[in-house]
């Protein structure tokens, strides 16, 4: 071979490599461009809702207390987030609301004061006093002199004022004030609990004096946040993952022997078992979930079975491949000591494959915790159900955030547990099982 041909080859090679180096990114970019057009990413700007984003973000770190009056009966209702669960008992309220027979004064802080009397008035610092007199003829709003600022929206039958301190809405029948506070409302105790508003020190003191059980019960049965139900939901989700993963492993192990070339002499059986595995995997968790939820209804059992079915296929494939790779020498060694078939499997085969199988099963335990959350969201069970419920209301974003944090911790916990078990079970004991 002459130097010229080698050089020719080399330049050709470099040219080819340079071509792929540019062609590959170009193909990827072209594909991404195609998907972005087919997904209508540009139209997203119209579909995206900034209002929703603002609601979500404010709701994440703050909550509002509604003070509302029925203009006909004069009845006042004070409720956190406007929910029945957060309603103050009649005749009581937070200290910034002064309830009176003739007039209720609501102090929004920073000089903003709303009065519910015969007239509804709002004193806005730096602007003046807005007076309304809701009745049959409308809300009859009287604004201070000058142009109407954009944060005031006044019409004949409706007035709404949005300021930094809060928000006032007056209609013919109703006057309502929102005041915003930072934090998650009533996280520990609801208003009807005797422990609401107590400081941490007082609580510890009362817990010491024999009320620990009662305090825990009040917290556990908090109607707003339902800590007890949430804990159960998390437990259900982990249960689905546990039962599904290990149930699948138990079923897949004997089937794996039937699908391994060196253990199953019958080619026909092997073929059938392998196609069963392919079918279980190919049908996918989504379809199994739908089919099973029709038969068993929503709940953790349905989720566990859906995971079990899908993973039986996956484990069966992994196990049979691991079994095909076992070393025959160990089995022969055990057989040479006069071991019966069962003993050959127990001492010749199992110790070889357990580390592989266990580590695979434990890897799946973590990923199945996530699957269980997803299946729960589809069928209705566990933390996935609570999450979808909270998202559907479109206003309990603090609960959504709480659940997301809990889910993240749950998955990380399972990850840690499976890693710990992997290290303990596989490295700690050479005998295998």
């Amino acid at each position: 071979m002459t130097a010229a041909t080698i050089q020719h080859q080399a330049t050709g090679l470099i040219r080819r490599k340079r071509f792929t180096a540019f062609a590959l990114p170009a193909v990827i970019l072209a594909y991404l461009a195609y998907t972005f057009i087919s997904f209508d990413v540009l139209g997203l700007a119209e579909r995206a809702s900034l209002k929703n984003a603002a609601t979500l973000v404010t709701d994440l770190y703050s909550y509002k207390t509604h003070v509302s009056r029925d203009n006909r009966s004069g009845e006042i209702e004070i409720a956190i987030e406007g929910e029945r669960k957060g309603r103050y008992p009649a005749g009581t309220g937070p200290d910034w609301v002064a309830l009176g027979d003739a007039e209720t004064v609501i102090d929004l802080g920073g000089g903003h004061v709303v009065r519910f009397g015969a007239q509804v008035t709002y004193d806005i610092p730096g602007y003046g006093r807005v007076v309304t007199e809701p009745g049959r003829s409308g809300v009859n709003a009287q604004l201070p002199e000058g142009a109407v600022p954009e944060w005031i929206n006044a019409s004949r039958n409706r007035l709404s004022i949005t300021t930094d301190a809060g928000r006032l809405t007056v209609t013919r029948n109703r006057a309502e004030v929102f005041r915003y506070f930072t934090g998650w409302e009533l996280f520990f105790f609801t208003l009807d609990s005797p422990y609401h508003g107590e400081s941490f020190g007082t609580l510890v003191g009362r817990a010491m004096s024999g009320e620990a059980g009662a305090i825990a019960t009040e917290f556990w049965t908090n109607k707003m946040w339902r800590h007890g139900d949430v804990a159960w939901a998390i437990f259900e989700t982990m249960l689905m993952a546990f039962l599904g993963t290990f149930g699948a492993a138990l079923i897949a192990l004997p089937l794996g022997f039937a699908a391994a070339r060196n253990f199953a002499p019958l080619g026909g059986l092997r073929f059938v078992v392998r196609r069963v595995f392919d079918f279980l995997r190919g049908v996918d968790g989504l379809i199994w979930t739908i089919v099973l939820s029709r038969a068993f209804g929503p709940g953790p059992m349905t989720g566990a079975l859906a995971i079990l079915l899908t993973d039986t296929g996956t484990f069966g494939k992994i196990f049979s491949e691991a079994l095909e790779n076992v070393d025959d020498k160990q089995i022969e060694g055990v057989a040479s000591t006069g071991a019966r078939p069962i003993q050959r499997y127990r001492f010749g085969v199992l110790p070889q494959i357990t580390p592989v199988l266990l580590s695979q099963v434990l890897y799946f335990l973590e990923s199945n915790t996530r699957s269980a959350t997803i299946i729960g969201a589809i069928t209705g069970g566990g933390i996935g159900l609570l999450l979808t419920q909270a998202i559907i209301t479109q206003k309990d974003w603090e609960e959504v955030a709480y659940y997301i944090v809990l889910i993240t911790f749950m998955v990380m916990l399972m990850d840690w547990v499976s890693g710990w078990l992997r290290r303990r079970l596989i490295k700690g004991d050479e005998s295998g099982i």
Binding site: T35, L56, G297
Partner: protein, 294 residues
């Protein structure tokens, strides 16, 4: 004579100690197995009690729904090819969601994996924060991000794509950084000595070493993402999952279309699995023809 009996006593002692050890281990294993069995049984009992329908009651009905779907599909078998064609665009959308999300996730995951690998990271102080970020991205299920994004961006494929891409970033970031750790640093040092900057060192020194393994992980992820994309469609993010939910929830008379979707989904998953596993085998074990030249 005395010596021999001495020896046999010693051997007896060793044997006794060994048998005691074996017995202790067997007891320990037995306890573990009993504990595991108890957990499984009580777990199934709890799950059964908290389920809307019981396991034994429902067991007889398991085949009812598939039988309904199958029956209806058989009744109107002549319409099936039409349905398969009708849902092909949705299927394409599902596959595209998975494809675009895998690509975006792979690019971000690759970048973050380089930032999270000791010895390769340009800013060592960033390693721990990046790893924690990857942990969090990996831990959050796609559906969580997708549901929140559907509220913000409206339904459609984009929320699903972003959700899957973020999860893929976390999952691939970790796996790829494990691969990067095994890369030889010699080419990197060589490139550094001739004045290559960080991106050049990574692109020319590290990537050629790790590319086959990286590609094989990305392909595996693509398989997983197709399933995820179908599931996210079911909760409102476009694609074939969305059609599946519509045909199912409209109840009577639509099961033949659901059957068509089942068939499409099943075939797609099987085909993609087979292709990708063949490709992965070639990437990690087999000698690909390009190996000689590259």
């Amino acid at each position: 004579m005395a010596e021999a009996s001495d020896n046999s006593i010693r051997v007896d002692g060793i044997q006794l100690a060994y048998m005691a050890q074996v017995r202790a281990r067997r007891i320990m294993n037995l306890i573990l197995i009993v504990l595991f069995a108890a957990l499984m049984f009580s777990g199934f009992a709890t799950a059964d009690a908290r389920n809307a329908g019981g396991f034994w009651d429902g067991l007889g009905n398991v085949l009812d729904f598939p039988a309904d779907v199958f029956g209806e599909a058989m009744e109107r078998a002549h319409l099936l090819p039409g349905y398969l064609l009708k849902y092909l665009p949705s299927l394409l959308e599902t596959v595209n969601i998975a494809g675009a999300a895998t690509l975006l996730g792979a690019v971000m995951g690759l970048l973050l994996s380089l930032l999270a690998t000791r010895g390769l990271a340009p800013f060592p102080w960033l390693i721990t924060p990046v790893r924690r970020l990857l942990d969090i991205l990996r831990a959050v299920p796609e559906i969580v991000i997708a549901l929140v994004l559907i509220f913000l961006l409206g339904g459609g494929p984009v929320p699903a794509m972003i959700a899957i891409a973020l999860h893929t970033t976390g999952a691939l970031g970790k796996l790829l950084s494990e691969v990067n750790e095994n890369a030889s640093l010699k080419p990197v040092e060589g490139l550094e000595s001739v004045g290559a900057n960080w991106s050049q060192r990574m692109a020319l020194g590290v990537l050629p070493q790790v590319a086959p393994n990286h590609l094989s992980y990305v392909l595996l992820r693509f398989e997983i993402n197709i399933r995820a994309s179908a599931i996210l469609g079911f909760v409102g993010a476009g694609g074939i999952g969305y059609d599946l939910r519509n045909t199912m929830s409209w109840g009577q008379g639509k099961f033949d279309e659901a059957a068509a979707i089942f068939v499409l989904l099943f075939l797609t998953i099987v085909v993609v699995d087979q292709c990708s596993s063949a490709l992965r085998n070639r990437l990690t074990h087999g000698t690909s023809p390009s190996k000689v030249t590259s």
